[in-house]
């Protein structure tokens, strides 16, 4: 059983996000061609496919970094031609990046605190004096951030500038920043790339815990098929920008197109 999650009109199991007939190209390069799929509230939805299949582009479409030439995006019942990053963030979509995009000069704490940006509304005037409501607010948000730090077991690096951290820990801090937004939909772009086995296990555990404890819906891009089969409820398979399969891990595993196109090919 999943925890019901902080609900905003979408019940567990309902469609939280749907992309319909989305096409995206860069000049002559067709990154995505007529792809449709949906993500249901509370599930872990994997997006897999070979290199250059358009997985990252799809996340960029969902959180508004890329604007598709065709298609629609429906999030929480509202249909749009394109998302905008600010709208996505303020409506509860948060993400991590394939190549880690952290605020390198800032500490772990400040990085995760930056994830609270949209939750903080204190007036600028009070902030300057570190007084009154702004101070109370800062303390309140620090508490949430400390909880996330405990959850991810990164207490030891709270004050370290993240640029100095090893790659695996940077990925963890980045997850922390995304969690600090208390997302309804969490987009993870290869959260385990470049990690050793132990780090991968930790990361898998965090992803499962986030999903279980907070009911957070997760879209997960991952190359490690074992991890994907273990974690996800449903899988979309992309190849050359097209969707070639969509279903439960078992369905996808036995799909002949997928086997031919992807699983069968060693890489």
């Amino acid at each position: 059983m999943r925890a019901p999650g902080s609900d905003k009109g979408v019940a567990a199991g309902d469609v939280l996000l749907a992309v319909d007939n989305v096409s995206l190209n860069f000049g002559g390069v067709k990154a995505i061609t007529d792809v449709s799929f949906d993500i249901r509230k509370g599930e872990i939805r994997a997006i897999i496919g070979p290199n250059g299949a358009g997985k990252t582009s799809m996340l960029n479409v969902i959180n508004g970094f890329y604007h598709p030439q065709q298609g629609r995006i429906t999030y929480r019942g509202e249909t749009r031609q394109k998302m905008r990053p600010y709208v996505a963030a303020s409506q509860g979509i948060s993400r991590t990046f394939q190549n880690v995009a952290l605020f390198k000069g800032m500490s772990t704490l400040d990085n995760i605190m930056a994830g609270r940006t949209l939750k903080m509304r204190g007036s600028f005037f009070w902030q300057l004096f570190r007084h009154g409501p702004a101070m109370r607010e800062e303390i309140e948000h620090r508490k949430v951030v400390e909880e996330i730090i405990d959850f991810l077991e990164i207490q030891a690096i709270r004050k370290t500038p993240v640029g100095k951290l090893p790659y695996g820990l940077q990925k963890r801090v980045e997850l922390g920043r995304a969690l600090a937004m208390e997302p309804d939909l969490l987009l993870l772009d290869e959260p385990m790339a470049g990690m050793n086995l132990e780090e991968k296990e930790d990361m898998s555990r965090f992803i499962i815990d986030v999903n279980n404890q907070y009911g957070t819906t997760i879209a997960l891009i991952e190359h490690d098929i074992g991890v994907v089969m273990d974690l996800s409820d449903r899988i979309v398979v992309l190849e050359y920008g097209r969707k070639i399969a969509d279903g439960t891990p078992d369905q996808v595993k036995s799909d002949q197109t997928v086997i031919d196109a992807y699983l069968g090919v060693p890489h």
């Binding site: 959180n63 970094f65 990053p85 600010y86 963030a89 303020s90 948060s94 993400r95 990046f97 995009a101 952290l102 605020f103 390198k104 000069g105 800032m106 400040d110 605190m113 930056a114 994830g115 940006t117 949209l118 903080m120 204190g122 600028f124 902030q127 300057l128 570190r130 800062e138 920043r177 995304a178 937004m181």
Partner: protein, 318 residues
């Protein structure tokens, strides 16, 4: 032999013989250094947040000062004129963000750099149109800035400090402290640093780049206004003042384009180095030294520390 003596020995002998003169020179260097630092700071703020090298920074100093004095000459009380000048810098920031930065986002840096040339000439034209092209006197007394000098007896001689210079140093120090606090401790400051580090990560947490750019340009505008008042008080307010932007370049070479402490320390080094050079070595090369000495100091420094003052060693990953 004589030349070597004059270059490498005589200046130090002179410093030793008249320490009061040395202190006087150091002080004057410090004061110009503070102003250089402020101009460089304006550059750094904008460069850090938007990656734009703002050619218009020098003109913004003039424009801000001109607006202040111009309003006063139109009969607006001094402090209201000051408030209006702040308002004008705010409008400028919002306009630049709306009309220049937003449409040009994702264009190559060189395009944005060229666009700041455009801003420069628009500001010159606007300034001349509204306030006229004649040099103006800064309204120093009306703003209750001190006048005259204080003299100290030290080291067997005396040193004379202009009160306006003392005020400039104090005001600059306060402003830098406030900015540092703003950057380190406030939510907007955190957002500013976030944008400086990664645009896409900042966007992903819901920071609005447009808002941050407007704030940064406004902050740079305020810094320009303060610089303009201080600099204008020492000479006059005219478009000739914009050449001080040229002084910021060596400061940036020295301190790095993205380092606030670099701008401050770099400004002081250039300011002090320049005055010492002018006073003790200037006669040797027959004047004109102040136009290039700053660059010379910056480049000489870079020979020993290629990463600049506070920059980290950049080791390219291959």
């Amino acid at each position: 032999m004589n030349l070597l003596y004059a270059l490498f020995v005589d200046p130090w002998v002179q410093m030793g013989q008249a320490p009061d003169l040395l202190v006087q020179t150091l002080w004057e260097g410090l004061v110009s250094g503070v102003l250089y630092a402020l101009i460089a700071l304006g550059f750094v703020l904008i460069f850090k947040a938007s990656g734009v090298f703002n050619f218009a920074q020098g003109i913004m100093v003039v424009f801000a000062a001109l607006t202040l004095v111009g309003f006063y000459e139109m009969g607006v009380p001094a402090f209201l004129a000051l408030a209006l000048a702040v308002g004008v810098m705010f409008l400028l920031a919002v306009t630049v963000e709306r009309v220049v930065l937003r449409p040009l986002v994702n264009q190559p840096d060189i395009i944005l750099f060229m666009a700041t040339f455009g801003i420069t000439y628009v500001l010159i034209g606007l300034g001349e149109l509204i306030f006229g092209g004649n040099p103006k006197r800064m309204i120093t007394e009306q703003l209750y800035l001190p006048k005259g000098a204080v003299e100290f007896k030290i080291l067997g001689g005396f040193v004379s400090l202009q009160k306006i210079d003392i005020a400039a140093a104090i005001i600059a120090a306060i402003m830098i402290a406030v900015l540092a606090f703003f950057f380190q401790k406030t939510r907007i400051g955190r957002a500013l640093r976030a944008v400086a580090d990664s645009h896409k990560a900042a966007l992903s947490v819901g920071i609005s780049l447009n808002q941050i750019w407007a704030i940064v340009w406004f902050t740079a505008g305020i810094v320009a206004l303060v610089t303009g008042i201080m600099w204008g008080a020492r000479s006059e307010v005219s478009f000739a003042l914009q050449v001080i932007a040229l002084k910021a370049l060596p400061v940036l070479i020295l301190g790095g384009f993205t380092s606030v402490p670099g701008a401050i320390v770099g400004g002081l080094i250039i300011g002090i180095g320049e005055k010492l050079g002018e006073f003790y070595w200037g006669p040797l090369v027959g004047g004109g030294i102040e136009s290039w000495l700053a660059y010379f100091i910056a480049l000489a420094f870079l020979l020993f520390r290629p990463q600049g003052l506070f920059g980290e060693k950049i080791i390219e990953r291959i």
